[in-house]
Each structure stands twice: as C-alpha cells, then as structure tokens.
Symmetry: D2
Subunit: 348 residues, 4 copies
C-alpha cells in the first residue's frame, strides 16, 4: 500500500481524542488526515487549541461538520460526546469506507441499557447489532472488513483487559467483582469545567461517579461475553492529579486454589498473540505506558483473603481512545495491527 | 494552664512527622518544643532541611539523641522508622511524663504479628499490653492519663475510621473487606529513594505493597475490636503524584438490606462526639483536609452488587501522624481535644 | 479586646481570596466573619465550592450582595475582579468601619494609568488619593486608622518587597529593572478557563501577559516612591504547575561596587522591623511559605555581569492577598500586626 | 540504506538520556542499539529501571563498560556525568565510526574554562579543537563526516537558539544579556537526591546555580561565535514541578529601534532551513514540545523599556539531549536530518 494513501477524516477533532489522532497519524505510514471538523471551533486554527500540532498543521482551521466534508473517505474517526454520534453515524454509513466511533453510542448491544445508564433512548438501535466492539485483544476476529467499529471506552479497556483472562479461565466468581480505578484528568475532555481546573485537581484525589459510572455496563457486557455467566461489577473511578493514565485494580473472589504464578501464566497465555499487552510480575505504573499503545498487566493471588488482585494500566488517550481506534482501523483495513503505533511509553 | 508551659521533645525530629510537629506546635497554645534530636542530622540546622521553619527555629540545629536530652520533659513524641522506637521507649518510660510514639512498634497487641508483618521479633513485648492505641475517635476513653501512646498509622487511620461504624453496626461481613487506598508521597518519608524521586512519581500511579503492607494487621486489630468477630481485610495502597493526603475506598458486603441514607446516618451518629470527623453526602477529596486534622467520610449502598462503599480522607502528616499525635497528647494531658489543631484544610 | 468581637464581612466571598479569608479568620482570635456575599453563587452552600470549609461553615450559603448586608460592620474585605470594587467602595464608605479592597481598583494613585493598563477610566478617581496602599512593610505608618486600604497585588508584593531595599539604597539603576516572575495557578481565580484547566497547566511552563501585565505600574509606583527617581520595569510572569506560590527573580544593574554580603545586610536592615520577612542566604523556595504570611528573600551580586539578582517568594493567596489583607486590617484596627497569621509554611 | 543497519552503542545507558535514546531509536528506521553499558547498573535488567522499555528490551541487562563492547560500532552515544567522558572518548576514537557525547566534556573550545566552571583541568584538551559542537541549527555545516560531536547542553540549546538570531542580527547588546530559565526535573538525572525528591519539588519553584551555572560559558561561546563581539550573560535556572521541559526567557537591550514584527521576521528567516524550529507569535509552552524534537520560539520588542524579550522552549531530554544527539548523528552519517524524530509534542 502506498505511503499515506488511506484518506481519513475526524469528526469532533477539537477534543483531546481528535488531537491525539493528529499526533498518532502524523507518524502513521499509511493514513493521512484529509478532513477535520470541530463544529464548536469551526474556523479556529487547530494550533490555537493544540500548539503541539503547529509544526504539522500550520494555519489549518477546524471545519464545520457536514456529510460532504467526509464523503468518500476511506476511514472516519468520530470523537463526539455521547449521544451525538448516534445521529452522525447513520449519515456517514455507506458514504465512507469505515467508521471508528470513539464514543459510547454503539458500544452496548442491548438498547435497553442506554436509558438506564445514559438517561436517554438510543435513536438508532437497529445499528447496534452490526457495530463491532473495538477491543482487538478480545474481539480481533470480528474487525477485518468491519464498517462500523465502536472503540472501547478508556476505563472499560483497562478493566476488561485486566479481568478477561480471570473470568475466561473461570478463576473468579463473576458476580462479585470490585473495580477500583484511578484515572488522569484528560479523560474528562478539553472544555473547562469546575471539577477539572488545575486548582481543583492538583494535590487532590477524589472518587466520582459513585455506583453509576457509565462504563459499568460496557465492562459487564464484555466479561459476560468471555465468561460463562452474567458478570456484575462495582466500578468506582478516582480522579488524581495527572494528565494521562488509567490504573485499574480489580478484585475477584477465587473459585479454586491457585498461585500467583498460575495467574501470571494464565494472563501470559491469554495475551500471547496480542502485541500491545505486556504481562509482568512487576506492579505496573501508568507512566510506563504514557503516550504509547501498551497495556501492562500483573496479578496476585492472596490465599489469606481468598482473592485475586489484577492490575492493569494504559494511557487513556492512546490505548484507551485514539490508539485503540487506530489499532482497530489497522485491523479493519487489513494493515498489520501495530502499524504506526508505539509500544514504548515516554518515561519520565 | 499557662501558655506554652508543657515542655515537649521530639525524637527523630528530622523526618516529615517531626517537621510537621514543629509546624503544629508553633500555634499550639500550651506545648513548646524544648528538645529535638535527629541523629542522622545532628548538628545540621533545622532550616537547612525545612526552610519553612526558618522564621521560628532560626539557627537551631538537630541534637544527637540521648536520654538526658529528654529527661524530665512532659511529653516526648517519637518519629522513628519502625524497629527503632521499641528500644527507645523503654529508656524514656518513667523519665518523661508521656510518650507518643508515631511509629508502629507499639501498635499491635499480639507480639506474634511482628515477625509475620515486620520480619523481626519485638524486643520488648511486655510493653505492648500497656500501650494505648492512639486513635481517639475509637479509643478516646483510654487516653487520659496514658503513659505510652502508639499513634495510629496513616493508612490505618483512614481505613479504620471509614470502616469502624460499618463493622460496629454489623452492616458488613467482617471477613470480606477490600480496602483500596490512594496515598500521597510524604508517607514514604524524607530520605531520597528511587521510587519517590519527582521523575518517578509525577504523572504516575502505581500500586505497591501488594498483599503484604504492614498496616494490614493494624486495621484488622481495630476492626476486630469494634466488631463481633475477627476481621480480614485485603489492603492495597496506591501511590499518586501529590505531597499529602490519603483516600481510602472501602468495600464491604452487606449483611442486610439498607439504604445510603441509613449508612450516612450510622456514620453521623457514630462520630457525633468526634470534633474532627465530618460525615457528608459529598464524595470527599484529599485537598479538603490538606494541612488540617480533619477526616471527611461518606458512604454509598449499592443494592445492585449488594455492597457498601465507604470513603474516607485525611492528611497523612496531620490526622495520619503528627496531628493525631497532638490530639492524643491533648487527651492524655487533660487538654481539650482540639487544642491547637485546625479543622480547615488549605484549599487550593 | 474580646475574642472575635470584631465583626467582618466579605464581598466576593466565593473567589479564592474570599475562601482563604474564611480559613485565616477561622483561627484569628479577634475577627469573626458575619456576612459573606458572592453574587454569582448566591444561595449556594459555601461548602459546595470549598469542602475544606465544611467543618466550620456547615450549611451556610453565599448571600446576594447588598449594602444592607454589610452595613455597620467593623471591617469589610472585598475580593472582586478589577473594575467592580470601584463602584462598591463608594457605597460602603462611611457605613462600615474599614474597607480592605484586595482588588486593583484603588492601588494606583495616578488615575491616568487606569485607561492605559486596565482599558477603562476609573469611575471614582476622587477616592484614589485617600486610599492607603496596603503593603505594611513599606507603608506601615499610613495604616493605623485608615478607612480604605487597597491591598497590594500578589505579583507586585513579591516584586516590590524584593526590589525596594535595592532601590531605596541606591544600589541599582531604577530605569533598567527586569522582573521575571513565576506564579502558581490560583492567582488566576476560581472560575474555569481554558488556560487554567489541569490538562493545560500540568507539565507546562509558559509566559503570559507579555509586556503589558497590569501589575507593572503598581510596581513602578512603589519603586518610584522608595527611590529617588522614576522606576521602569519590564515585568514578565510565567505560569507553572503549582497551586500557590510566587517567585520573583529581579535583575538590576549595579550603580556601585558591592558584595553579596553587603546586599544581604542591606535587605536585613531594611526589614529588621518586619516580622513576616525573612532574609536568608539560602535560595528561597515557594514551598517554604505555602499557606503562611511569610516572605523569604535573598540576593546575589555578580561582578562578572555588573548585576544584582534579588529573589523573593510568597504565597499569592496569603501574603499576596488574604493574609496581606488581614495584616493590613490588624494594623488599621490597632491590633498587633501578626495577630492570627502564621509565619510557618506547610512543608511538604 | 537498509533498515536498522547502522549499529549503535550507548555508554551510560542507565541515565535518563540513555533511556530516551532507547525510546527514540526504537522508531528510528536506520539505527539499532547493539550495545548498552551502565556500569553502576551492570547486570540489572533495563526494564527494572525503565518499565516503559519492557516491551522492547525484554530481559536485556545493562553491560559493564569496556572498549571491546563498543569496538567497531558505527556510532556510540555517551551519556555520562561531566568529567567522565573526557577519559572514555580517547579510548573509543578510531575504534568506532562516530562518537556523540551528550555530556559537557568536549563542548568548550577554550580549555582554560574547565577549571573555572567545572573545577578541574581537562585531561585531554588536545581533542577539544577537533570536536564539533552539536547544535545543528547554528553549526550544521560542520557535522557531516564528524568523528566526535559534543551535543549541546539542554539549557544552552534553549538559550542559544532563542538568542542567536538577535545577536547575529546585531539587534541587542551582547554584553548585557539576562537569561531566566525554567526547567523540569529530569535535567537533574535519575539518581535520587534530596533536592529532587517528589516532596521537595512538587508545589515548589526555586532558583539554583545562582551566578555560576556551568552552562553559562557554553552559551557565551555560542553567542560570541554568531555575533561580532564577546557575549556576556547572566544565566539563572529555576526548578519547577514538571518532568520535562525548558523555557528560556531572554532579555536583551535593543541597539536600534525595531518592532515585534521585525524581530519575529528575523527569527523566521534565521531558521528558515531548520525543520525543528517553529517561530510563532504565540507565547510558547513547554507542553507543546513534550517528547518531540521541536523548539518553539517567540519574541517581543518593548519600546517602553528599550528591551527585546525572546522566549524559547524545548524538551530537555529530546531536543536538549537525546533527540539533539540523534539529529547530530543523522547529519554526521549522511541521513536526512529529521530521520526518526518527531516534531509533534504529546499534548496534554
């Protein structure tokens, strides 16, 4: 394939995931960004919002969204707040080669879950069945040739990748899972809000979304898929003062006797063919994966409390969003899975 | 009592808890620091290590430790690494009015736990029975007139204060408790180490002490005390990039049906006479208690997963160490519990 | 004077300086906050914005501003954005005992400077002559009995206190001063803005207000006051990722040969009667004064480049705003200057 | 040239610049790391120190340094503390194709400056004349075919690149330059020290190396080279709480009347052929260049104070060290200057 010959567009390009796509695709040998809309920022120079991009975008501005802008492109990435892509996707389907939605509108298979967790009915539920859930490590075979991919949410990616081998191997009870997650601030998006100003977040740790965070059903859906019964999780995210990074600490009750070595072996085997997953005895750190598409995992068995503790880290803007989207696009388009994506985080 | 008439000493004054005592006692109306030893820093100006103290310590230097230095003082605070105060305390008992040990050497009642969790036998186990566990909210009545107080560890304080009302009320199973704790870096102490350099910690979250953190038996001892059976906890601390602050997220399995309002009422009633504990429906943030002796608590009941989630925050150097020590000293010495201690955190 | 018998009000209490006043006055033995307006937040619980204050404000809400709310109070602190207090002050003068304006509307003596630097005419220029500039270290004698005090801006306080002794002693040329200042984020206020979100500021350093920052004329006014000719400064602030703290690096050209010891002696003598100023050979750090009303200063003479370098640090919300306001109020009301104010920063 | 066919070694690979070389060369299409010594860490797995590298280094350990380890390699990068490479370079010269020293031992042309600024005589001064100063934007023509390159120091790179066009165009007096620099913590290196622990640096700003920082003569040498007379600078670095990034604020006195537009035009023209330098009217931010090899510059003319203010930013570990080294290697080896180096920073 000729270098840069795949023509891409970004809907909602003024958000962090859009900006991260610009950064990632700048070094992708096969994909070039041809169109970028950011309706709230239309006409604004991209470099005003993201001065890091100035060397490559020059004076380029965000366009107003229109179907025509993206018509005929090979792949369109969508980075819109939830509830918006469910109306954009139907407009683009059939007019572009591939849609990778980085939002939540097409992730849940059961349309009844949308009013429960998102507070509103899905406007195009007939599209849900055909959407491929974009988590290559667990659903790789479904990606080649896909037309619509719903890339996994950042918290769900970290949680599901940590827990999937434990559930798939039957090692833990699926109805008693606790996920305690730590996240950086960029997951909350670019627009200024009271709870994400520097002075609110710096030197602060706080839990949010108590009992009702919207990534919960997505995790349960995935763990139910890989296991043998319905999974139930109590998911609690915590905001800490860092830009990027998610660390998921996952607690499951053992179904059988097992050692830490056994669990690490289960994880390693499960991800033997997944180039971005590193299983290690070391306790993983978010800094290790900063800016990369890697996931680092570990686990421990605690016979004293009859529990297994699994821990996974990823960069929420890369493996948790834009990098995951590129990985999905690579697979859907027939490129090598790792094309243009780095495994090495920026440290320090 | 005449202002500043209580004469105090600090053993191990060059660590963070020692420096924090200087800060707290500078505004304490009844206690004055007369002696301060820091053997590794003996002869070094205090202000070289802690320039914040320069306006009040001037050219004062750390002294070498000796019994004579502290002989006859009304109260001696000890801020030594674990394993050291078990030899210092016997030297000082009877020669000073009151000892407040901020380390771990006298916290566990069962001497057999020391080799298991600390890797060494206790050298003076006969003193354990007489030591008062310094957690006023749960053991207030034992403090007046105490001679030796073992102030609670920072992680244990946050965890036990969050969980005690839930255990005491029989609301949760005591053998299935998960504590996921987030902590700032000052808990690791002042001496430079590879894992606490700025470049290691900043923009990073990581779990440490997996399965075997030494505050575990201390929490289990306390929860066993307040409950009706032996408590077992899986405790996992996480280091995040902030100077101070601990947030304990505690997960318990419900023993009976209950609402969030019920649990909040249980917490409020439990701490009705504890001036430093605030029970609130708001999700607490470590920043709210920064520099203060306050503890902020909340809880949620999740019928979907049959769990209760309790969350507590405190400043590890104040309520988790030096402030707790002063609070214990106040009670032991017959002063009002809140003397010289602030409830208002520095924000932002 | 009876404890807490001075009745105070805060106009614009929902900003950071208002919240900091609540924190500082909570431990002030003579002043009690009776009224607090925050028009944009009227009816909102104070603890919703500042959970650190929850233990002392309970369910108290911000009031709507009205003259009646503050009528008859002993002292009113004003923490409004520039341009607003110039209309509020005339309403309150004569109806309250003392006004401490923490904003910029009454700092400049020359009304012609307002349109130049603030872009708008002053609406009550006749009040400027009577306003006392609230910088006790330089204008202490003017404060007792004052009716209207314009407390110094945070950047100006750090810069002027560092440079005043150098200018007053004739040691540096007054028309060739460069001030390079580093500031934390809280100086930008509480309302969320794009340039103060966590993700914009964290891991970032940037200069702003190039050539035209509004504190410039205030510094020039003060240095002209203490020197023998008009002072001209090039002032450039830089935003770095910390909540609080200002560090002013001030560069002057020497008028005569001089040693570092000489300059340190000049500084020490100049501030001999100023309890909050510490002159030290150590290079000062903002962390040392965090949360306190202290200023730490040093200086160096560089014969190689014929320059003197003066460096000063303070906490922008305390010595640069609310602490300075309390210090001014103490002096204006006849209390000891240091009443209720700490010299010891929170470290770490 | 075949992909990865240039064989490289790293001496001092356990430091931050060594680790950053691993990260950068992992995506470099022509250079492969064949040997890596880190004598203090010999035998230690690289991933123990840098878990970000685990996916590409696996169980690889640091080797002990020996000439044999590097003999015959095409290029050797040296990342040793100052004073050490002056003895290593003579051993390797002639036995490897190219040496890129990232330390300071071969940067100064005048051997008499070493005792003055570094406190010790140079042990191999005869090599200084032949060493090429590795700052491609100013000395590009000297790089092709070089055998020994002394890559520019991080602070010097930021300062010299900002000031060179101003000096070269005769716009500012060369004997009255003030450089006020802000730097992140990684410039201090990996080994733990008291002044770079998290708790010392976080929420702190402080100046260091007052009057005598070792990068001063390097800046003066370069500015003297590009100007018409000897340059004298007062250079003061400031440490702030961020991992990476340098921002140099440079103050010069105007020699002639000039506008901001004029200066920006001078900068743009000067760097027209330098692919990594971006000249922009926007005030640059260190975050914009994080992880990239870019330099962002701006300038302002202040007629009020007769000064020009130039501001430049770069990532100290990339453009200030390892990226600069790769850029120099590219030019020395006849590769395109930008090979394997990114212009887009990681944001946020």
């Amino acid at each position: 394939m000729e270098s840069g010959s795949i023509r891409a567009g970004i809907v909602g390009a003024s958000g962090y995931t859009g900006a991260e796509l610009f950064r990632l695709l700048d070094v992708h040998p096969a994909i070039t960004v041809e169109a970028a809309s950011g309706s709230s920022q239309a006409g604004q120079p991209i470099a005003d919002l993201y001065p890091n991009l100035a060397p490559v975008v020059g004076d380029r501005v965000y366009d107003e969204y229109s179907v025509e802008l993206f018509d005929g492109l090979d792949v369109v990435f969508i980075g819109l707040p939830h509830g918006l892509s469910m109306d954009v996707v139907p407009e683009l389907i059939g007019r572009v080669g591939l849609i990778i939605d980085m939002g939540s509108d097409f992730r849940l298979k059961d349309p009844d879950l949308y009013p429960v967790w998102y507070g509103a009915e899905h406007t195009n539920p007939e599209l849900l069945a055909g959407a491929v859930y974009g988590l290559p490590e667990l659903y790789r075979a479904t990606l080649p040739g896909a037309e619509l991919v719903a890339a996994t949410g950042c918290n769900a990616a970290a949680s599901s990748l940590t827990l999937a081998p434990l559930v798939a191997s039957g090692l833990i009870e699926t109805d008693d899972i606790v996920i305690n997650l730590i996240t950086g601030v960029s997951g909350a998006g670019r627009p200024p809000k009271t709870n994400t100003t520097f002075c609110t977040v710096d030197e602060n740790a706080t839990a949010y979304g108590l009992l009702n965070h919207r990534h919960t059903p997505e995790i349960e859906q995935t763990l139910t898929d890989v296991g043998t019964g319905p999974a139930t999780v109590l998911f609690t995210p915590h905001l800490v003062p860092m830009n990027r990074g998610i660390l998921a600490s996952c607690y499951g009750r053992l179904t059988r006797s097992c050692s830490t070595e056994d669990v690490l072996a289960i994880l390693s085997e499960f991800y033997a063919d997944s180039p971005f997953v590193l299983v290690d005895e070391r306790s993983p750190s978010t800094k290790s994966v900063q800016g990369s598409n890697s996931v680092h995992l570990t686990a421990r068995v605690d016979p004293r409390t009859n529990r297994v503790l699994g821990i996974g880290v990823l960069d929420n803007l890369v493996k948790g969003a834009s990098g995951m989207a590129v990985q999905c696009a690579n697979l859907a388009l027939g490129l090598p899975e790792t094309t243009g994506l780095s495994k090495v985080g920026m440290y320090p």
